[in-house]
């Protein structure tokens, strides 16, 4: 087990599979597209392990995943006017919630989920990378390929939008 490439694949790809799938699912909306994107990202990652730069395998792999997602989104745009979002995203199946499963919690998760889903992609991705993956601004900057200052302002605006959206939901419910 001393082959460095093999170790790279383990440390860069396999251990971050969940993070990769989560990002892809949030960016693409449905299970099948996310699976496709993650699979091709893994293949690309395998081929590019030699060219992996920087000390942060997670950020590197997540950048590959994000590329595969944006490729898919671009294809979708040219192919048809198909919605970027599919009901899957708003549905209650296939996500890791129900374990303790009381209705109040499920409702809360649904609200947060809906609000994140409603964000434009550039805001959605920084929220996912920061709040769900716990990545630093520097790491996010490497994944999204924008300067750290941009990460900061995007995240700030993303949270503002998210807060507004969650507040709107409350108003709609109480009115």
């Amino acid at each position: 087990m001393s082959d460095p490439n093999h170790q790279h694949f383990e440390t860069a790809v396999l251990v971050h599979l969940e993070a990769a799938y989560n990002l892809a699912r949030w960016l693409l909306g449905d299970v099948a597209s996310a699976e496709d994107a993650v699979q091709s990202a893994c293949l690309k990652a395998m081929r590019g392990l030699g060219s992996m730069t920087g000390p942060n395998p997670k950020a590197w792999f997540m950048a590959v995943v994000r590329n595969c997602c944006t490729d898919q989104l671009r294809e979708r745009k040219t192919q048809s006017s198909q919605d970027e979002y599919d009901d899957d995203l708003h549905g209650h199946h296939g996500h890791a919630v129900s374990a303790e499963g009381n209705a109040v919690r499920a409702e809360e998760v649904r609200r947060v989920r809906e609000s994140i889903a409603a964000l434009p992609m550039e805001f959605r991705e920084v929220i996912v990378l920061r709040e769900l993956e716990g990545m630093s601004y520097k790491e996010i900057s490497a994944v999204v390929k924008v300067p750290i200052g941009t990460v900061m302002s995007r995240l700030s605006r993303a949270r503002e939008r998210l807060a507004e959206c969650l507040a709107d939901q409350r108003e709609r419910r109480s009115s």
Partner: protein, 249 residues
Amino acid sequence: MSCGQVRQYLDAWLDGELDAMTSEALAAHTRSCAHCTGLKAEREALIARVRAANPRFEVPARLRSAVHSLRAVPGARRLPLLRWWQAAALAVAASALSVALTLLWVGLPRPGADPANDELVARHVLSLAGPLVEVGSGDRHQIKPWFHGKIDFAPEVRDLTPLGYELQGARMERLAGATAVAVVYRIRNHPINLFVWRAAADGQPSLRVVRARGFTLARWSDQGLMFAAVSDVEPRDLERFAQAFAPVN
């Protein structure tokens, strides 16, 4: 430090992205400013709320196993880095394979003049160069009548849209010198050719899923008809597709 600056740096501050001096300046201002204290509390609550909800998605089991078996992908084996993994990959693949084998492999002898996998793959590849369909329709009620008078059997055309397989159309085919038809579906942009022809010999109805030249084939027979679905999708995708057609047994 002004309220405007607090607003600007609030998130970076809460995320621990600022140096100690700036952080202290922000803290000092916020302590003495009710407005900023409120702002900070609101933002902290939002962050906590999102993290508590933790709206993640579970990795589908099939993706997990697909990624783990990637090391065994024949196409990737050309890469030097994979050479090494074959031993490890075998272990991973073996467990998946043993399940697949018990489920799918029935060592069916190929009946008489039924086309070989190679021919099916060749026809599939040729169809990709076009035309993929001679009658293009997502409505099975338009495709079935199109076969009338062209063939002496009636292949069932199923609507599998709910499963993600979109009906694209159909065309006539020649397989092993006999007339056949191809019904075309598509999943996630991957075309699937479902070839149907009259069995040359009594075939066993059991479903087999095999790989040939990098393609996946699912073959089965039902009521004297032979079916072969060919595509470049994962075996599981084709297995699921075939199960929607294949007789239950």
